[in-house]
Every structure is written in structure tokens, then in C-alpha cells.
């Protein structure tokens, strides 16, 4: 971390940031480098190499945050950013505490991707392409992407904290298009981790096969039903449902503004006792894990729902100070150009004791949402909507025909309370979550989960 910003420079920046007063000052420095490429029409293209470095300085005073950021890590530029952040304040100078280093534990990386040849990465994409095209003549198109990024960060603040982290993430994605006459369907799958190239030691090509299988399955799909019915949600990326309908509402900024349906409900029973859920930024090598958060607080495991009771909110430093509690290590930012806000890391529903097969067998007529294309929630009203990427009808306790174009729609509090079974299986998946104009990597996970009644929006009235 001392490579990014010298501790003497950091101390000087903090001192200048508080020159006109303020309760808190922070400097955040970052250097990132990445490589992305894609395969489309069986051709390697869109090869892109990026590099950026910069720093952001903020000062808080009486609840207002003054923020300034600069490109590059030249000490003179960072000090100028500190002056700019302090410019709007007119109080007496305050003194930062002497810096003392906090050690976070970076996630272990075995094979740094920068040390692997670009040709090997192109080969990986060709492997995916062949795998998907081998899945059948109805696969009309296939694209896949590869992305690696290393992000070194360093944070110092006026409370004496000095911390750093070194983060490497790799991710591949596959998208297949299947065609039969006028019918066109797509299928997608991703594999990613806070990890090195060793992530691809197993069978990375399987995601291409999986994307192709999803697209082909949908060719035989019937229009989705419309109406209210029991819904069984699949494991893994099914966890995005919990991420959207509950996770965002637990982020302390929404809660403090009264813009969350979970505000004022701490300690209350919001779900049946069979439900326990966590946000855990320490899960080894998971996509949403980091050594420290972007304010230098070591990441941690927070139980957000304990046997159906709302147990905790997710805090960054600013919201924690406001509530007089400790940060839960959820202060995250997209880059040095952004202010940190409370964000989820890896959020998941803990495994329950139901057998997934039995959860489906108990449903007379319902919907099986295996995976989602994504979702959206308004934390203030709790209204949410999810696009189902792979879904089936459940008839007489059995999974029957695949459905296209299904959407799940509902209200967080009602849907959470309606979860009546949690499976004993478990899987984590990767996602990119957008909030306040910032995108950060998040993990979502769960086993099968059943919701007693939910509105399925399809085209079949």
C-alpha cells in the first residue's frame, strides 16, 4: 500500500483537508489495470487493455461531505484535491490523529492473470465457442467474454487508520442464441471470482454448454402463465431475489432516510423462523469478497436475518456514525471517482432442511424460476420485478414445460414473509450490482427457496 501513497504524503493530505475544519477526512488512492476480450462469430475481437490511477479526498462537517478527486497519484495533485475539498469550509483547523497501519488480509491469488499470456486467454474463449457450437445445429450465435482486473487500494483517514488491499478478479461470460424458424431464444451463464487464473483450472467450458442448453430449452417453451401462484426459486443466482427484495432495503442509507420498508423493523419477525441470511465479505475467493472495504474497515460476516427476525442493517462509516454504531465493513465504491455508500458484498440465504424435490412435489400448480436475467426494486415502496431467464411450469407436483417471457413481481415484505421452504442445497453466483450510479461486484447465493404465492407476469392471460 505504501507504493500507492506514502504515509507521510497521506498525513499531509489529511492535514490540508482539515485546514478549514471538519470532523473527518479521508484519502483513498487506487491503481487499476485490466484486460477484456470477446469472441463473436468465432473470432477474437474487442481486445481492450485499460489502466487508471487516481485518488479521492473527502471531508465531512456537520453532515455534509465535500469530495474531490484527481487522475494520477502525484502527491501535489492529491494535495490540491484536499485543498479543493476543504475550500467550502470556513471553520477552525482540526487535527488528524497520527496514522497507524491496520492490516487487512487480501484474498489469496495463486496465478496472477497479468502473468498469463493473452494467447492463453483467447484460447479459453475459443474453447467456450467450440463447446457451445457443439451443442447442436440450432445454436445460431455464440459470444463469450473474458475480463480480468487488478485493483490496488490504499485508504488513510483522520482517525488514524491506514489500510490497503490488493484485489484481483477474473470472470468469463457466455451467451448463446438458439434459432428454430422464427423462434429466437437466448441463454447465458457466467463464472467469476476474486481469484487468479486458477479459477479456470476445472472445466470453464461448461458455462458455454450451460448457456447453449438454456437457449435450446427455451425453443420448446410455451408462453409464461400470468397470475398469482406458488413459486419455487432455484439455487445460486436465484439469490438475486433476496439481494434485491431484502438486501437493498437493509443498506443503512435507505433505512436512515425512511426510504426502506425495513426501517424501524430491527428485531421484528419479517420472515418465518426457517429463514436465516447473511452478508459476508470474507468468504474465501468469492466474487463479492475483499480484504477491507473501501473505507479501510476489514470485511466481516453479518447475520442480517436470524430465524426470521431482522437482525442487522449494513453500514458504511457515514451511516454508522449517524446511528452511533460500528461500520459493518460495507462501505464500497466503484472507483476513486466515487463516494463510498453502504453496499452488499456476498449476500445469501443459509441452507435450510427441505429437499428441493419435495419442495416442488408439494406444489399442485405453480412456477419454477431456475434463474433470473436480473431484477430491480424500489427500496422505499418495496415493489420489485424480476425477469426470469429460465423457468418452468409446475403441474401436479412435477416440473413440466419450459416458459418464456416470465416476470416475477411483488412486494418485498409480503414475498419475504411468504417464503415457506428453504432447501438444503446451496450455491453462490456472481453479479454486478448498480446503485447510486456505481457498479460493484456482488455475490448472491441460496439453495432452492419456495414462496407460497407470488405474481407471475406472462403473456398468457
Amino acid at each position: 500500500m505504501s507504493e500507492l501513497i506514502d504515509s507521510e504524503v497521506a498525513a499531509r493530505v489529511l492535514s490540508r483537508a482539515l485546514a478549514n475544519g471538519g470532523e473527518f477526512a479521508e484519502v483513498y488512492a487506487e491503481r487499476s489495470a485490466g484486460l477484456t476480450m470477446a469472441i463473436d462469430e468465432s473470432r477474437i475481437e474487442a481486445v481492450q487493455s485499460g489502466a487508471a490511477a487516481g485518488a479521492g479526498v473527502r471531508v465531512t462537517s456537520d453532515g455534509t461531505t465535500y469530495f474531490s478527486h484527481v487522475d494520477g497519484l502525484d502527491p501535489a495533485d492529491i494535495e490540491r484535491a484536499a485543498d479543493e475539498a476543504a475550500a467550502a469550509l470556513h471553520a477552525e483547523r482540526s487535527e488528524p490523529r497520527p496514522l497507524s497501519a491496520v492490516t487487512g488480509t487480501p484474498q489469496p491469488i495463486e496465478a496472477p492473470p497479468a502473468g498469463v499470456s493473452a494467447g492463453r486467454k483467447a484460447e479459453l474463449l475459443r474453447e467456450l465457442d467450440e463447446r457451445a457450437r457443439g451443442a447442436g445445429g440450432e445454436i445460431a450465435q455464440f459470444t463469450a467474454s473474458y475480463a480480468e482486473a487488478r485493483r490496488e487500494v490504499c485508504v488513510a483517514n483522520s482517525e488514524g487508520l491506514l489500510a490497503g488491499d490488493d484485489r484481483t478478479r477474473v470472470r468469463i461470460g457466455a451467451q448463446a442464441v438458439a434459432r428454430r424458424g422464427d423462434l429466437v431464444e437466448t441463454g447465458a451463464e457466467t463464472l467469476g471470482a476474486h481469484r487468479g487464473f486458477e479459477l479456470f483450472d476445472g472445466d470453464p467450458g461448461s458455462i458455454a454448454g450451460e448457456a447453449a442448453r438454456k437457449a435450446l430449452t427455451l425453443l420448446d417453451a410455451a408462453p409464461a402463465p400470468a397470475g398469482s401462484m406458488p413459486v419455487v426459486v432455484g439455487g445460486g443466482f436465484g439469490g438475486v431475489l433476496f439481494h434485491e427484495m431484502t438486501g437493498h432495503g437493509l443498506e443503512a442509507d435507505h433505512v436512515q432516510k425512511g426510504a426502506s420498508v425495513y426501517a424501524g423493523k430491527l428485531g421484528e419477525q419479517v420472515a418465518r423462523p426457517l429463514l436465516t441470511a447473511y452478508d459476508d465479505g470474507r468468504l474465501p475467493n468469492e466474487w463479492g469478497s475483499d480484504g477491507i472495504d473501501d473505507e479501510g474497515v476489514p470485511t466481516q460476516k453479518t447475520r442480517v436475518i436470524e430465524e426470521g427476525r431482522l437482525a442487522a442493517y449494513l453500514y458504511d462509516g457515514t451511516t454508522a456514525r449517524r446511528d452511533g454504531v460500528a461500520s459493518t465493513g460495507n462501505g464500497r465504491r466503484e472507483s476513486f471517482r466515487h463516494l463510498p455508500v453502504p453496499r452488499m458484498t456476498n449476500t445469501y440465504i443459509a441452507p435450510g432442511d427441505a429437499e428441493p424435490e419435495a419442495m416442488i412435489a408439494e406444489v399442485e400448480r405453480g412456477f419454477y424460476a431456475v434463474s433470473f436475467a436480473g431484477g430491480q426494486v424500489d427500496p422505499a415502496t418495496g415493489d420489485f420485478v424480476f425477469g426470469v431467464s429460465e423457468g418452468y411450469l409446475i403441474e401436479g407436483g412435477k416440473v413440466t414445460s419450459p416458459c418464456r417471457g416470465a416476470t416475477l413481481i411483488g412486494n418485498c415484505l409480503e414475498a419475504l414473509a411468504a417464503i415457506d421452504a428453504v432447501g438444503n442445497d446451496f450455491e453462490m453466483k456472481t453479479g454486478i450490482c448498480g446503485k447510486a450510479g456505481q457498479r460493484v461486484p456482488v455475490g448472491t447465493g441460496q439453495g432452492h427457496v419456495r414462496i407460497a404465492a407470488m405474481t407471475v407476469g406472462g403473456t398468457e392471460v
Binding site: 473470432r43 487493455s49 489502466a51 469530495f67 431484477g375 430491480q376 415493489d383 425477469g387 392471460v461
Partner: protein, 462 residues
Amino acid sequence: MIDAARRAVEAAAKAGAGEAEAYAAEDSGREVRVHGGAVESLTAATQRGLGVRAWIGKRVGYAYGTDLSAPGIAALAERATEAARVADEDEFAGAPSPDAAASGRHSADVQGQSAPEGLEGLSDPTIGEWSTGRLAELALEIERTALSADPRIAGVEQAVYADSSERVAIASSTGIEGEYSSSSCYGYLQALAEGEDGRETGLGFGLGRGPAALEPAAIGREGAERALAMIGAGKPASRACPVVLDPTVAASFIGLVGRGLSASAVQRGRSPFAGRAGEEVAGEALTLYDDGLDPEGFASSPFDAEGVPRRRTPLVEARTLRTYLYDTYTARRGDAASTGSASRAGYRSQPSVSTSNLIVAPGSLGFAELLGEAGEGVLVTDVAGLHSGVNPVSGVFSVGASGRAIRGGELAEPLREFTIASDLVSMLRAVRAVGTDARWVPFSGSVKTPSLLIGEMTVAGS
């Protein structure tokens, strides 16, 4: 900026590139967020960076960076040429040439346009005269107006003002050179109304070239009115019925249509409009064009992201799909002329085909007449889940919606938690009437559209 771009092109040649193009951008911006009558955060920042495309024969690579020193630019050019070596050959790859850019071949629909001498009105020079204190006051007025609009307004989640002044320069080894400045700003808020069984939210927004163009009171009022209108909302009965899309919602769908009209999506078989050029794709009432030169449009610029002049391109007229949108690569591949439709999200992204300002020509019916024409149906004022509920290849969609019931041609009770479903081509064909209430909406690209009456769509509620 043009200097940095020129130096990068030279550096790429030294690094072994046959042709090269550099895009340099510098941006300074401010943002004020207010909450509860106080300033929550105040951000001031400048950023600049450079993106280089390098061609080695028929291979192309891209690199970007923020280090504009001589060694920084050399390393960046080196990375771009390295990236080109990894890419496979593509027979249509190549640097845009200034001939094609300045005159080139024009399709039948794009007649007699040449490079504009300069596009006036893209920048508001007074933007820098506004102190942060005055901008904070503007954001506070947005919040205040919403709070005082009605006792049922319980709060404002956030009111925001933001601006950006940008300077862009492009240079290439084939002789393209150009530079321009533009500015933009916006204000918005999310108002919260206390409903009978929970809270309702309402978005108000406005945009302009500079803060003087914003009407803070109107933004605040719109957010409050939208939130209040949703109090007591229920679910509609599931059925197929006429649907009116207000301009904000219509803009989202028109934005999706624009994505499907990109020649890139079409050539790769990933658009519901592939193979439909010259065919009937819309109702008589709908006229749609892309205009990169409209001074009011936020995507306007004298030239596109690879230096080709912007222009006005008719897309849908008299029920017929006239043309797709092309950049240099897709024009070569499709044996057409570039429509000046290369866009980038900034120096960190390589150019790709995208709409500039997508404009729906206003129709003849006022909003009340549009509701009268709908008779019995649903007005949609908000949609959610567009990124997950639309299949961009087939155009099939099912998205979450809220709005109002239409009974006997008049607005009735508020509705929420329902979905609307159709596919993009069927939806365009079902456009029965177009309103007169055109408005610029920045959520799905830059789109200007009035309300649209869709003859029939599936509504799924209870």
C-alpha cells in the same frame, strides 16, 4: 486535447500499428446532493483520459489510460498494438477515412448533407459562473417545492444537481482531426408520499445545457405529483387492452427499438429488426428518426465517436423501416454508408454503433384526446426491470409497471404491481396514435417522444 491525441497516434505508429486513432476527452463536473434541507455531499472533479485504437492489417486492438505524460502515452500505444496482435483478422476492420467521413456514399435516405461547419449551442458558457452555493440552493429548491406540495409528501429520498463540461478531440493516422466542447446538466429528485398502506415514490427531473435552463420548482412538483398519484394503488385485472405510455415510459421502449436498429445487432443476427429493412414495422401514426445534430439533443455533436459527421437519419416512416444505423465497420460490412452513429461511453470504451438523439415526431392528439381514444385501458407512468425483462434478440418483453386505469376515456384509480408484455415489433405495429406532449428523456440514451397509444398489450395483475 487534440495535441495529446496526435501524439498518441504517432506513438502507435512507432509501436508497430499500421493505422491508429486516438480519442481524448477532458471533463469537469460538479454534483450536489441534498437531503432534509441540508447539503449531503458536494463533489467537484476533473478527469481526462485517452483511448487508442490500433490496427495491424485487419486486426484491431484498444487501450485506454489516464497517464498523458510522454512515457504514459507511449505505454498506452504499446498496449493498444499488443491488443491488436491478440485479435483475429476481420476483413471489414480498418480505420475510418476522412473521405468517407466528409462526403462518402450516402444512402437514398441521407441526401445532400455534408459536415456541419460547427454546431452552435452545445455548450453553455455561463455554467462556470454558478458557484457551488448557488447550485446547492437550486437543489434545495427542488426538494423544498416537493415537500411543500402536499401534506402527504413524507420526505424526499434525495434531490440532486449535476453538471458536466466536456471537451473531446479525435485524431487518426488517416487524417481525421476534430475537436468540440459541450456541456450538460440535470436535476432530479425522488419524492416519497405517505400512502394508506406504505410509501409511494415519484421521480421528477429536468435537463439543460446549463443550470439556468433548469426549473427547480417544476422538477420538485413533478416528483411530488407522481408520488401522490400512486396513493391507494391497486392491481389491474389481467387482460389484453389499450395501453398509453407516458413520454418517460415511451422513451424507454423507443430506446430499446433504437438498440435493435443498430446495424451491428442486425448483422450479427441479434435484433428483432434483422431482415426487416423496407418492411412494414409500425403503425401509420409513428415517425421515428435519429438526429445527431439537433442542438437540443444531449447526444448532439459535429462528428461521431470516430470522427464521421453526425446527421439526421429517418428510421421509420409511413409504416416502413427505412434504414439501420451504421458506423464505419458495419457500413463496410453491410455495403452501406456510415450514418455517423459511432458512440462511446467515454475514453474507456471503444466505439460501437448506437443511436444519437432518437426522436418520435409529435402526433395530433393532446393527452386528454389520447386517453379518449384509448377508451378502456391502462396509462403506464413507470416501468421497472427493463434490463432483465426484455430479450434484445427476439424483442419479447415482460416488464413491471405502474400507472393509472383509464375508464371511459378518463384517468381513474392508480395501479401498481402489474406487468405489461408484448414484443417490440408487435408494439410498434400496434401504435394507434401519438400525442403532442413531446419531452426529452435521458434514461435510455437521449430520446424525445410524446405519449404513445398502443392499441393492445397484455396487462398482468390479479
